[in-house]
């Protein structure tokens, strides 16, 4: 049962991400990105990481992707101004590199073989919260600095006058 779900959501995630990088219009890409994010959230749930799954939807689907959609609509790039993709050498190299990366992933996967391990309940709100506020308190606080820098940076960048 779990295996079937894994394959369904895994397939949807890969399909969605391929569609994201291959669509011409950004808004179609965004919708497929949403699909990918959802299937990844579902995969998190399969791994019993409910907290991260919920955060995935809140932060990614609820904020980041909305922001991207907002920018796409705000720019509202005319159909003729959407960049036309032409194959270049760099792209060829990129695709080959990606293929190699995929091969490596498969090799690593096959090295470990089909080890089946029971998932420990580490993904609940309590467990993640405890880890976040004890062992990882300093990194957690540092992320807040990162966010502050991002806020200031984006405001400065998007201001009308420099």
């Amino acid at each position: 049962m779990e295996r079937i779900l894994f394959f369904i959501f895994g397939f949807v995630a890969v399909f969605g991400s391929i569609m994201v990088v291959s669509r011409r219009h950004p808004i179609s890409s965004v919708m497929y990105l949403l699909l990918t994010l959802f299937s990844v959230a579902a995969l998190f749930v399969l791994r019993k990481s409910h907290f991260i799954a919920a955060i995935q939807i809140i932060v990614y689907a609820g904020a980041v992707v909305v922001l991207i959609v907002f920018v796409i609509m705000l720019l509202n790039v005319a159909e003729s101004k959407i960049p036309v993709e032409r194959p270049t050498l760099a792209q060829g190299v990129g695709v080959v590199a990606a293929g190699l990366l995929m091969l490596e992933g498969a090799l690593v996967g096959s090295r470990y073989g089909a080890q089946i391990e029971k998932a420990v309940d580490v993904g609940t709100v309590e467990a993640v919260g405890k880890a976040l506020f004890t062992s990882y308190l300093l990194p957690f606080e540092i992320t807040s600095l990162l966010l502050l820098a991002a806020i200031v940076g984006s405001i400065v960048l998007a201001r009308k006058k420099f």
Binding site: I27, M31, L34, H50, F51, A53, A54, I55, I57, I58, A61, G62, A63, V66, L67, V69, F70, M73, L74, N76, T124, V125, F133, T134
Partner: protein, 365 residues
């Protein structure tokens, strides 16, 4: 196994029937209530065999009319996303109700059945996650219609919803801190306790500021007046659903009212004791040290009814506010969200944390 599945399906069916069945009643209450507030008669003409029931058949007639209208796609619209948008508007709202408990755990055929579709470990976060998705319906409708007014409505709504989601989430944190859980069932159960032996420990009593913040944010999230900027009909025609007709429009309409029901259910659960009736416990009323014994079945029925009554009251509250307060201006909405609600929500968390640390017996890690 099979019977468990059956119980779950029955619960989902009850929930859907309740939420969707309430919609026509709400539409009727909205029109009739508006009329009475404005010294008018309201709908009173539609009849079945001469039976009028004060216009209760009007929503039915409207639904039939919308069903039989022509289903069209405007020329400039994006055909797929135009059709997809109403679904995006509808689905997340309906899903949200799954975690709202409507009664205590009961025993049927020797099984413990919580009166709640899904008791999730991340309860409130689930609500929050799906309520943040409702924006896609509006934003997609606005973009896919190929109409500038629709686009403006979509942009407005996306900015508004991102802004108010923050204070919505932060105001819920106060409740989660007080009751020490994210599970809505735990929160509802904990509200049956008494403060100082007399006052019910409802969310509104322990989190008055949080309640007001939540209420305002929920109004903004469901895009009801005074926050109905996305559709502001006096400025941008009808906003995101300008180009929609027929059943696709009906789905947006339905989604709006389902949103009201869901928001009422959440307000009732988080701040007004959920299914709890003050002083009523599993064995009866406990009042002034005396116990009035009641059969368990009666208690459960009373509690479910109490939840329904609370939800109905808050649905009415949404209607009531709509016909009292005028719409905000766009800059006022933004200022309220960022400059008033957000600092207040942060202050609320800080105060709650301090009080819990000083008096609540919470220990620092």
């Amino acid at each position: 196994m099979l019977i468990d599945l059956l119980i779950v399906i029955v619960k989902i069916a009850i929930m859907l029937a309740f939420v969707l069945g309430l919609v026509p009643v709400l539409v009727w209450a909205e029109r009739k209530g508006a009329a009475f507030i404005q010294d008018r008669m309201g709908p009173a003409k539609a009849d079945i065999f001469g039976l009028r029931l004060a216009g209760l058949f009007h929503p039915l007639a409207d639904a039939l009319k919308l069903l039989f209208k022509e289903d069209f796609v405007p020329e400039d619209a994006h055909p797929l996303f135009y059709r997809l948008a109403p679904v995006f508007a509808m689905a997340p709202v309906l899903l949200t109700f799954a975690v709202v408990p409507f009664g205590d755990t009961i025993e049927i055929f020797g099984r413990k059945v919580p009166l709640q579709v899904a008791d999730l470990n991340v309860g409130i976060l689930y609500v929050f996650a799906f309520s943040s998705l409702t924006v896609y319906g509006i934003i997609l409708a606005g973009w896919a219609s190929g109409n500038k007014f629709s686009l403006l409505g979509g942009l407005r709504s996306s900015a508004q919803m991102i802004s108010y989601e923050i204070s919505l989430g932060l105001s819920i944190i106060g409740v989660a801190m007080v009751f020490g859980s994210l599970k809505l069932s735990d929160i509802a159960r904990a509200q049956g306790e008494l403060l100082f032996g007399v006052i019910p420990k409802w969310g509104v009593v322990v989190q008055p500021l949080g309640f007001i913040l939540f209420l305002v944010s929920v109004f903004a999230e469901s895009a009801r007046i005074p926050f109905d900027l996305p559709e502001g009909e006096s400025e941008i025609v009808a906003g995101f659903h300008t180009e929609y007709g027929s059943f696709k429009f009906a789905m947006f309409f339905l989604a709006e009212y389902v949103h009201v029901v869901v928001a009422s259910g959440l307000i009732a659960t988080l701040y007004f004791g959920g299914w709890q009736i003050p002083y009523l416990y599993a064995d009866g009323f406990h009042l002034f040290g005396k116990v009035l014994h009641l059969p368990f079945a009666l208690v459960v029925i009373m509690q479910v009814l109490a939840f329904v009554v609370k939800v109905l009251f808050f649905c009415w509250f949404f209607i009531w506010v709509r016909w009292t307060i005028p719409r905000f201006r766009y800059d006022q909405v933004m200022r309220l969200g960022w400059k008033v609600l957000l600092p207040l929500a942060l202050a609320n968390i800080f105060i709650t944390g301090s009080v819990l640390l000083l008096f609540g017996g919470a220990k620092p890690l």
